[in-house]
Every structure is written in C-alpha cells, then in structure tokens.
C-alpha cells in the first residue's frame, strides 16, 4: 500500500518538525562544525584557548560507537530544569552540551518595571537558595548609586543574615550532592538543619525564603527581641551537626572514591571560564570577595578563606563544609558585637516613616505615599557591585536614568557562569561522575535563567 506508506512518511516528517530542537540539538560530531565543537569544549569567545585542550576526542574513533543521550530537564539529579545533551561512549562522557532556559522568567526585564524598593522582591527570587545574598547585592548596588550611609546595626544584621544564608545554601548543596551520589540520609539531614535557619528567617522577615528582608536603606524590620538566644542556639548546635556530616561522608571510603579526582578544573581554567566561588577556591585560588573587595565591613571580621588543592568534587565539598564553619565563626562575632541603633537609614527620601508618625505629621504621610506609589528617585548613572554569594561572585550591573525605576539591570549570576565549567569537568568521566559534577557546581536554575 504505497499511499499508506506515504502518509506515514508525512506524519513522521511532521512529527520531526514539531519536535525538532533546532540549534539546541546535539548532533553527531561529523555533522557539527569545528567552531561549535570548540564552544562545546568551553572555548568560549574571549577565553584563552591555550588553557583548554584542543585535542578533540582523539581516543574515540567512530561516531557510530557512541550514543547521544538527553539528560534533563526532567531528570532527578539535574537540580531543577538543567538539561544536558551527552554523547556517551559506553558510559564515558565524550561531549556535553548544557541547554538552559527552561526556567526563564525574564526577571532582569521585569526589574525595569519595578521601583527600587520592589526590586528587592524581584532579585530575591533569582537564586532562591541564597535570597539574602541577592537582596544584599541589590541593596548595595542601589545604595552605591544613592550614595547612602547605612547605620552600623543594619550592616551587622545584613552580615548575620548573609552568613546564615550561606550556611543554609551550603546545606542544600551537601544534601543534594549526597542524594545524587546515593547517600540518601544526607538529604534529610541537610534539609533538617536548614530548617532551623529558615525558621529564624521566618521569625525576622515573615518568610522562610524569598524574604525581601534586606532592602535599599537597611533591613525591613529590626531583629525580634529574642534573636540572640535563637542565633546562639544555631551557633552552638551547628558545629556538632557539621561533624556528623563529615563522619557520614568525608571519611567514607565510597564517598572518597566517588569524589576524589573527579571533575577537576585548574585555576587557569577557572579564570578562562569565569568560574568563581567554591569551584575556584577548591582549585587552589584564595579569592573571596568578602576579603578581596570587602563590603559590609567584612574586613573587621576574623575568618579564613578555605581553599582546596585539586579542584575536584571532593575539594569543592570540603570547601563548602569549611565555609560553613567559617560562617558560624562570623555569626558568632556578629552576636558578640551587634551595635545598638537604627536598623535602617533615616534618610526620609528612601525610608518610609514609622506608622505612628503618619497619624501626626502631614509630611510623614506625604513621604509614605510618595515612597509606596512613585518610589524614590535614584541619580542617573551606572554601577557594578559584586559580592560573594554561596555560589560565587554575584553582581548587579545597574543603569539608572534618574527615575524611580532602573533603566537596565543585568545580574552576573554565579550559577550561570559556573555552568561553563561543566564541559571541561565532565569530559572523559563516567555518567555517574557527570551527576557528581553537576551536584558539585551547585547550580540554582532560577539564578541561571533569571
């Protein structure tokens, strides 16, 4: 029945057309141009080529022997909706091509329609595991343009929150990494301890995540009256918890075998690809913006920058564990020296008046109305402000036209930049190593896709 066959052919063609993935698709090596292959290897424009290996897959001879497999966006260990196209030679990863955009919500564009006050609620939803870092970065950026002086208590509260958030973010990282490598109990332990921090956040800001607590001008509210005992409890109990994780994982021979020597990157590769945070530090470079470009008075706190030597999955894990301990050290110091005073700037143009003043003063009412309808105006100009988030260097590049809304916002998201490193980390490893590598780069897709 030739007609039948023809119809089936047309249907198949239509099927292909409907499901064709265009440029996102990973094709066989013989069909792919050399430039694209170079991009896949991480030779992004501007990257120093000498750093990257230019020997493409010499040990894999034949295209027919390999299999192209799609991993994600629905896959248990792609941390949300990361998608990877892998070319596998048996179980060895030959090529890898990350595909992103499945969580794209246009937040950078949305920022242009929100006032500077509302902007904090927007950025806090990007890296949803470290909302405080995003808010802090936003607040510092706007304050830089406003040239606003922040009271010391507000700064100390910000440091407290950012460091607690660093701990909670690293906890999720350890938990999911444990899960991905099969240590299912780590998953629960990590989330259990994180909950203690999140309940403290809830007490302070009313929300567990996406707090909108750190705002341009200070913080949204003063700390609750019994915050000291809550934080003291966290500080006291956490070192013991971290010892537990180390007992469960660090000394475990299977864990060590699975992580040591897996997914290594060198410092040069990190420079070329823009990898920051625990990945860079695990490779051996002590680069931490809290120390190297201090903000919020970090230079007055006593803590160490944790580094590794091999830049492999194990070192990244160790760096995160070490950073949790250092963060506890910082939190302890905040606890000891929390200054008294205002929790937000008293600049009437930026900070709304207290509720009680609205009943008494006409000016207060006007200020309140203006701030919450029109918003405050920020001087024209452009500014780049970077801080150290749990995942690396997070920065806002903000252009203001002098109105009450940003003209343009670009977020330099650490998760996005760190995904560049997937190809050099994964190639030559096994499929199981690929999972370990994803977990160790700790990507948050909200941060990647913005």
């Amino acid at each position: 029945m030739p007609e039948q066959v023809e119809l089936e052919g047309i249907a198949a063609e239509a099927d292909r057309a409907r499901t064709d993935e265009g440029a996102q698709k990973m094709r066989g090596r013989d069909e792919t141009g050399s430039l694209e292959l170079a991009y896949e290897k991480g030779n992004a424009a501007g990257a120093r080529k000498a750093v990257m290996t230019n020997e493409p897959w010499s040990d894999v001879s034949d295209d027919d022997e390999t299999m192209i497999i799609n991993m994600g966006p629905q896959h248990p260990s792609t941390h949300g909706v990361l998608r990877l196209m892998l070319e596998l030679d048996a179980e060895t990863v030959v090529r890898v091509k990350p595909v992103i955009g499945y969580l794209h919500t246009g937040m950078e564009k949305t920022a242009e329609t929100l006032t500077f006050t509302q902007g904090a609620t927007n950025v806090t939803r990007m890296d949803y595991l470290a909302p405080m870092s995003n808010e802090l970065c936003w607040a510092l950026t706007v304050e830089k343009l406003l040239d606003l002086e922040i009271p010391p208590r507000a700064t100390a509260i910000r440091v407290l929150m950012a460091e607690l958030n660093r701990i909670s973010s690293h906890l999720v990282s350890l938990a999911t990494q444990g899960m991905d490598l099969g240590a299912i109990s780590m998953m629960i332990y990590g989330f259990r301890e994180r909950e203690e921090i999140l309940s403290f956040f809830e007490k302070c800001s009313g929300l567990r995540m996406n707090n909108d607590y750190i705002r341009p001008g200070g913080v949204a509210a003063d700390l609750p009256p019994d915050w000291e005992s809550d934080v003291a409890k966290i500080v006291e109990t956490f070192p013991a918890h971290i010892d537990e994780y180390e007992e469960l994982l660090t000394e475990n021979p299977i864990w060590r075998e699975r992580t040591i020597g897996v997914g290594s990157v060198t410092v040069e590769q990190c420079y070329a690809l823009g990898l920051t945070g625990p990945i860079l530090r695990a490779a051996g470079k002590a680069w931490d913006l809290r120390v190297d470009q201090p903000y919020c008075g970090y230079e007055t706190y006593d803590f160490d920058v944790i580094t590794g030597t091999n830049g492999d999955v194990f070192d990244r894990y160790k760096v995160r564990v070490g950073e949790m301990r250092e963060s506890i050290k910082i939190v302890k110091q905040v606890l000891d020296r929390m200054p008294e005073g205002d929790y937000r700037s008293q600049d009437k143009k930026v900070t709304p008046p207290p509720r009680i003043r609205i009943d008494e003063s006409m000016e207060a009412l006007i200020h309140h109305f203006k701030i919450f309808t029109e918003g405050y105006k920020v001087p024209a100009g452009e500014v780049y402000c970077a801080i150290e988030s749990p995942r690396g260097e997070i920065a806002n590049y903000l252009v203001s036209s002098g109105s009450s809304k940003p003209w343009r916002l670009h977020v330099r998201a650490p998760s996005f930049a760190n995904l560049q490193g997937l190809a050099p980390m994964m190639e030559g490893g096994l499929l199981a190593d690929a999972v370990a590598v994803i977990a160790s780069t700790d990507p948050v897709m909200g941060d990647v896709d913005r």
């Binding site: 109990s185 259990r192 475990n252 199981a432």
Partner: protein, 354 residues
C-alpha cells in the same frame, strides 16, 4: 522425603506451596513497610503513618494503586520480552523460597512434616541457577524497553550480576566443603551442636571471609544500595524499570524485596546455622522457626541500614571491587580452606583407620 508418597503427601506438599507463596507475599509487603519505617527512623522522619494503624497497610494501598493503574506500554518496546521480563525476575525468587528450610519439623497425626518446601539434594546449586535466571529479567527489561536509560541499566545489570554471581559461587564453595553437602537441610543439620560446649557450629564462624564476601555479593545481586547501579535513580532515572509502570513495575519491586529476603535466608542457612538455636520442649517446632526468622531479620535489617548510610558505588569501582579484590581473596581462601579440609579428612581417616 517424609513418609510414603501417598495422597496425604501430595496434599501436604500442595498445602506447603500455597502457604509458602502466601507467606512470602505477606512477608514482602511487611518488608517494604519495615524498610520504609527503618529508613525513616534513621533519617529522623516518621515514615508511612496514614493507611491503617501506624501505617501498616501502606504497602497494601500502594499495591492496590499500582495494580489498578494503567500499565503504559511505550511504542518502541519489544512487546513480548517487555512483558516477560518482570515475570522472569519474580518467579525465580519465589522458586528459591521452596528450598529454604524455615524450621525443623512438625509432627501432625504421627507424620513428620519438614518446614521446607522441598529438600533438593542440589539445593545450593538450584539457588545459584535461579539467581542467574533473575539476571535475565533485569537485562531483558533494559533491552526490551527500547529506551536509552534502561539500556544502560540493562548493560550494567548484566555485567554487575554476572561478576558477582562468580563471587557468590566462590564464596559458597568453602561452605559446601565444610558442611559436606549441597542440600540446604543437610547444611543446617551439619551446623547443629556446639564447639567446646558454647560456640555454635556455624559455618560462618569458620568461613568468615566467604561469609562476608557472600553478604557483599548478596547486596550486589539484589541490586540494593550501595550497589544499586542498575536502577541508580539519580543517574539513570529508574534504570531498567524506567519504562515500566503499574503492575509490571510493582512486580519488579516485589522481586527486589523477595530477593532481599530469600538471599538473607540463604545466607542464614549456609553460614549462620539456619534454624539451629536453643529450644525448649514446649512447642518444639516453634523455636527453630523463631531462630530462623530472627537471624534473617538481622541480615535484612543490615541491608536496610546500609541503604540508609552509604553512597552508591561507581560502575568501574564496583567491577574492580568484584574482580580485583573479592575474587582473588576468595580464590586464595578456597585453596587454603580446601587444603585444611583435606588435611582434616586425612587425619580423621587415619584415626578411624588406626
């Protein structure tokens, strides 16, 4: 065999089969519940607590749900093999139950009935044969699914399980030499009594390394963590059963837990003295049964414990553990052990002869 093969014998055997089948099913359901509770306890969670008192009916509810769920068959599957594969992994597990001696014997109406499905004179070989067939179920499931992740799972399964089958065989040979029989019942009887009046004559106390090796192989053979590469949820989504749903998936699940129980029971029978243990004259048939289930329960608990605490091996590490460590050690042990055994036999012959 007990007594003459008359009508009563046939009826008794049929009854045994029915009881064993039903008991295994119930046991498996209990195991699923117990595992969830044990792992929940280790992870500071509550675990199932809604269906029935303390959630004990949770497995039943899950089973009913899976049973009535539509088994989706993807277009690319090799249909006959796809349907056959779950059965191939379940049926051998149930057949192994038949040779496990659960207890000593019970006397009803003057007849002595052994608490064992049947006592094959090649019992342990039958077990090895059945577990080899179980490999087919998983490998074919991966192959017939017509999808890439199950394929990788299937390939892993064939390599992993064949390697560990070898280990398992090597671990069982010393035990067979010590007890001098292949029959499961014979093995248990050879382990009765004590040394020096208080040390039980368990094979595992002599053949320590084969016992540990057997247990490692048992975990690999049942695809339990840390050797669950075949399903490795975080790598292969669901591995060989990615494309299975509904009752067919449930059968794989059932097979895994049945396998966990039978292999623990085999380990108890071969290495830990089976149903041997102190008994009392009151209800003499009950104590061996209790001892057997207590010992098996401990092993099953260790299975669960390991699952809750260890990360997963990587494929190449698993193979090197099997081929480069376990097998050489077992081969050396086999030589030593057989040498010693030969020497003992010689000596005893000499004594007997002189």
């Amino acid at each position: 065999m007990t007594g003459p093969h008359d009508g009563w014998w046939v009826l008794g055997s049929a009854l045994k089969v029915v009881i064993l089948f039903a008991a295994t099913l119930i046991l498996v359901m209990a195991l699923v519940y117990i595992e969830r509770k044990v792992v929940a306890f280790m992870q500071v969670r509550i675990g199932p607590n809604q269906a029935g008192p303390k959630g004990i009916l949770q497995t039943l509810a899950d089973g009913i749900k899976l049973f009535f769920k539509e088994p989706v068959t993807p277009r690319a599957v090799d249909r006959p093999i796809y349907i056959l594969a779950p059965l191939l992994s379940l049926i051998p597990m149930f057949l192994v139950v038949a040779i496990i001696p659960f207890g000593n014997s019970i006397t009803i109406n003057g007849r002595e009935i052994f608490l064992q499905g049947t006592d094959l004179n090649i019992g342990i070989l039958f077990f090895l044969a059945m577990s080899s067939i179980g490999v087919y179920g998983i490998t074919l499931a991966g192959w017939a699914s017509g999808s890439k992740y199950p394929l990788i799972g299937g390939i892993r399964a064939s390599a992993q399980m064949i390697s560990y089958e070898t280990c398992m065989g090597l671990a069982l040979i010393p035990a067979v030499m010590t007890t001098g029989t292949l029959s499961m019942r014979g093995m248990v009887e050879a382990q009765s009594g004590t040394w020096l009046g208080f040390v039980p004559r368990w094979t595992g106390l002599v053949q320590v390394i084969p016992m540990l090796a057997f247990f490692i192989c048992a975990i690999a053979e049942t695809n339990r963590p840390p050797f669950d590469l075949v399903e490795a949820e975080t790598e292969l989504v669901g591995g060989f059963h990615t494309e299975y749903s509904g009752i067919r998936f449930a059968i794989f699940y059932l097979a895994e837990f049945a396998n966990m129980f039978t292999i623990s029971a085999i380990a108890v029978t071969v290495f830990l003295g089976g149903w041997n243990g102190p008994g009392f004259s009151f209800l003499p048939w009950l104590w061996p049964l209790l001892w057997f289930f207590a010992k098996t329960g401990v092993l099953v608990f260790i299975f669960m414990w390991i699952r809750a605490s260890l990360p997963r091996f990587r494929y190449d590490q698993l193979m090197s553990l099997g081929w480069k460590r376990l097998i050489p050690v077992l081969l050396v042990w086999l030589l030593l052990s057989s040498g010693i055994q030969a020497w003992i036999n010689e000596a005893s012959n000499h004594v007997a002869g002189g």
